[in-house]
Symmetry: C2
């Protein structure tokens, strides 16, 4: 069959890949997901999954060691030393970021010990493009980068002229705050994007993962009234009960999730359903989609039965 | 002088306009704003300014009759009939919209009267490009539209091939919710964008203005747990004390604001300061900026002295 959707050649190839299996010309996102098979979903590795437990509930974060191996390892070292337990959310800047860490970090005598973790860490702002890293390109371009798409479920950009790829600052992406020095963000203070994509941060700071569940717990917090959205009074801070690596908890304390794979024809169909909404409400379709307008679907998974 | 910034020709022309006055090659946003003169700012017309008063504070909205004259007029008719007073915020969907209106709108017998306002209204999803409407283009392109920029302070897109321009769904933009029919959104239920730009809505629904102040009061609300983020229990809704047209209040009850003009060399310098951040923190600059990454500055204005 021919592909008559008004899309670039690449997207056409992707969309037609699905069309062979399901020739309906326009599917809603719900229809695409309803037709997904178990193979279209993956379970994040519990060794690379963090639970940030707040009084209001749990935030689940998938780390991206493919892009930031040193940071992922250092953060896990901090987590396993219970570094974050009892620390707090310190900063919520509207349409920008929510950030958490040690309120006493600036006071050497009161700051929490890093234990065996590193205090400085080589910049992991980008990495080489190579065959070990999948990349599913999007067809509609990007204001900031030459090419954008998804690698292992994470929004990414790349530039083949320089052979580099990097994670993109989309809603829900988690990064390691730093001072002015490139190596000053070891992962002891983390932030998550809660607004319009702050893409000017790309390649300036290490993104380390993405929130899979619980964004509403970080995005709906009162904004801080201090400079940069820092809370001005200690009692405004949101306490962190604990942070754990999923693999370190028994099954009964885990939050089993599945994430839609981003390297399948199903994902291509999902993207197409976002580019051209066929829900009855839409009077015209955009025919385009921006990188950060694609939220990779996450769903609850039944607990593993022994 | 020559303009050596690595920008497209158009941006170069804009940036150089400023450079004649202030030849510093890279200014921070703060420096640009510090150098602004009174003529770089404008006061929104109180006849086109709404105050949405919540228990937590005031949200100030500037209407855009340039793009949606029927909706702006109908909303003002509703406001002047005190339609919104005592209604509520009904819906907060994470990374999408906060929406307010009449909880009983679906129940004809209990719904609040529209008074003299229209119940249906012709679609105002786009308008003709003409010389009466200023347009300051941005230089870096856009995923969704052929051309993007600012008209009278509002983020806008246009397509000269079809002679049309329209407001863009950026953070803080306010629109008139509708059902499936194009004319079913008369402005009695309004929404504001609280996350990543939902540009797929562009040209599908009437945007009517933008929040100038108080976004944090709408963006930090608890997300609704029902479908589409609707609150499931009446007590979860956030009550609206009142909505007023600024012109209808005495000076002492107004919130005087000034907005940076978007048709000046100063605005071009502001855009350039966002494209290429020269703050010490940045290790590399993006050299690009997306439409919705530009938040047009708003500041408090001293009350008018009689």
């Amino acid at each position: 069959m021919s592909c008559r959707l008004p899309v670039a050649a690449l997207a056409c190839a992707i969309a037609c890949g699905l069309a062979h299996a399901a020739p309906a010309p326009r599917l809603t996102t719900q229809q695409v997901l309803d037709a997904a098979t178990p193979a279209d979903w993956r379970r994040p590795d519990p060794q690379h999954t963090l639970y940030l437990d707040l009084d209001a509930g749990r935030v689940v974060i998938e780390l991206a060691p493919q892009f930031a191996p040193l940071h992922a390892a250092n953060i896990k070292t901090l987590v396993r030393a219970h570094y974050f337990d009892g620390l707090a959310i310190l900063r919520v800047q509207d349409n920008f970021v929510t950030q958490w860490g040690d309120p006493e970090a600036e006071h050497a005598e009161r700051a929490r010990s890093f234990g065996a973790a590193q205090r400085t860490l080589a910049a992991e702002f980008e990495r080489s493009i190579d065959r070990s890293l999948p990349f599913t390109p999007l067809p509609d371009g990007d204001v900031y980068a030459r090419e954008v798409g998804f690698s292992d479920g994470f929004p990414a950009a790349r530039d083949r002229r320089i052979g580099k790829t990097w994670l993109a600052h989309c809603y829900g992406m988690v990064g390691a705050g730093r001072d002015n020095a490139a190596d000053s963000g070891p992962g002891a203070e983390l932030y998550v994007v809660i607004g319009q994509e702050p893409r000017q941060l790309d390649r300036n700071i290490a993104l380390v993962g993405r929130v899979l569940q619980g964004m509403e717990l970080l995005a709906a917090l009162p904004r801080g009234s201090g400079p940069l959205g820092f809370y001005e009074r200690p009692e405004q801070r949101v306490p962190i009960r604990r942070v754990r690596v999923a693999a370190d908890l028994p099954d009964t304390e885990r939050t089993p999730l599945e994430v839609l794979r981003t390297d399948t024809p199903r994902f291509a169909a999902f993207v197409e359903s976002r580019r051209n909404r066929s829900d009855a409400w839409y009077l015209q379709t955009a025919g385009k989609i921006g990188l950060c307008n694609i939220a990779v679907p996450v769903r609850s998974a039944a607990p593993t039965t022994p």
